[in-house]
Amino acid sequence: MSIIVENLSKTFKIKEKQKGIGGALKSLVAPKTKLIKAVEDISFTIDDGQAVGFIGPNGAGKSTTVKMLSGILYPSAGRINVNGLVPYKNRIEHVKNIGVVFGQKSQLWWDLPITDTFDLLKKIYKIPSDVYSRNLELFNEILGLHEFETQQVRQLSLGQRMRADIAAAFLHEPSIVFLDEPTIGLDVVAKEKIRLFIKEINRVKKTTLLFTTHDMTDIEKTCQRIIVIDKGKILYDGTIDSFKTKLNKDDFNEAVYEMFTGGI
């Protein structure tokens, strides 16, 4: 079992902003705080090598969950165990074995070609030279990084940048990779390349994947199982087929729409 989550919750305390200058002054003296339950009592387990789609509308708690699993956030309650480690307690040991792709953020050096970032990652993760060059070769083949590897990142298109960012997250052969909206804003061709890559790595390296996206085709093409979440709670956990059967739809997209618009 590579990921075990039990009764996980995350509550954020946020300051409520009041309207106008008067309100701003008022909140300076007596700030009003509000508790927001981003994730509420969720439990699931993911086996080694499984590719799981993590679906939910904006603000459902997906990113918060991914952040807790990757060790960036402390949970408010509940337990997480990833590869036998507690992410927020054994940070360094834990992150050696995971990779994270945030579609909204890049870990590439903006002013340098991608190869410089890759070399740095080799150093950071202490990747042996043979593993490093073997992986680069494989990634090049599927993602076509050669076409733009000498250009600075700031000159790349979004699709090229994302392909490079995904390669960067897989370079150190992590056993688990969290993909948080890696296909956001990409064209069909770029999306297809990324799906192909994810599928291939999952097959060849048996990497466990948790894939967050709003594109249901991404999920259908790469994942065996889905976890559906809304308002911090799990609504469904199982295969895509039984999900469609449950909602009485032939089309996966329609089934998801049905679920979020209150079909159940």
Partner: protein, 235 residues
């Protein structure tokens, strides 16, 4: 042994990348050096003009004041060369870049220090510091023996570490306050302005501030007293 040197090789790998990055904007880099040099020199010109009318400030003549200033600029040069990541830490938290460091299996502090360096500001401050040091060093009556040179080196290392620690303290508050620029302006930069003048000219609470709260007096004033044999504050 390898393990001991590993952080340094990690640091140098970053330095190589930072240099490559900065070298892409050569004009900006060049102007940054000049701008910093001119900006900081303006303050010194002010002191120079004041001393055309008055002979000294609190018993310190122009050469001695320049020596006091030179330690500020020399330490600051090393400070931004090595620790500008700590200075700019609140930005790193604010824009979410901190997550990236948390996701890598290395010490967060090492990563932040390695990934940032303000080379050109360091050159600007360093040049001014050297100029002031050269102007003043011969005329302040200090015998530059081996022991004194060693004392100067230790002074500079100590000064860099004191200021880096002050920054680190502010950086830690970024987690709660998110933006800490004004706090740093208020406590660090204002205190640094005081530190350009001998401590003895200030009222007691500012002296205490510079000795016990934001200990700038230990960066330049007390070491300068040693070199110049200044007895002020002895009582």
């Amino acid at each position: 042994m390898r393990k001991l040197f590993e952080p340094f090789s990690f640091y140098f790998q970053h330095s190589k990348m930072l240099t490559k990055t900065r070298m892409q904007y050569k004009l900006d880099a060049f102007l940054c050096c000049i701008a910093v040099f001119v900006r900081e020199s303006a303050g010194i010109v002010g002191v120079f003009l004041v001393l055309q009318t008055f002979n000294n400030i609190g018993g310190w003549n122009m050469q001695e004041l320049f020596f006091l200033f030179s330690i500020i600029f020399l330490t600051y040069s090393f400070l931004v060369f090595l620790f500008s990541g700590i200075r700019d830490f609140s930005n790193i938290v604010n824009n979410g870049e901190f997550d990236k460091y948390l996701l890598r299996p290395r010490s967060v502090l090492l990563q932040i220090i390695s990934a940032n360096s303000d080379y050109f500001a360091a050159i600007g401050h360093g040049t001014l510091g050297l100029v002031l040091f050269i102007i003043s060093a011969n005329s302040i009556g200090t015998d530059w023996s081996f022991a004194n040179i060693l004392y100067l080196i230790i002074t500079i290392i100590g000064g860099v570490l004191i200021q880096a620690s002050i920054w680190l303290l502010f950086s830690c508050s970024s987690f709660f306050l998110i933006k800490t620029d004004s706090l740093k302006d208020f406590l660090y930069w204002n205190t640094r302005k005081f530190a350009g003048y001998p401590l003895s000219v200030f009222p007691g609470f500012i002296q205490k501030l510079l000795m016990f709260v934001i200990p700038f007096a230990f960066v330049n004033y007390f070491p300068a007293q040693y070199f110049l044999h200044k007895p002020d504050l002895a009582n």
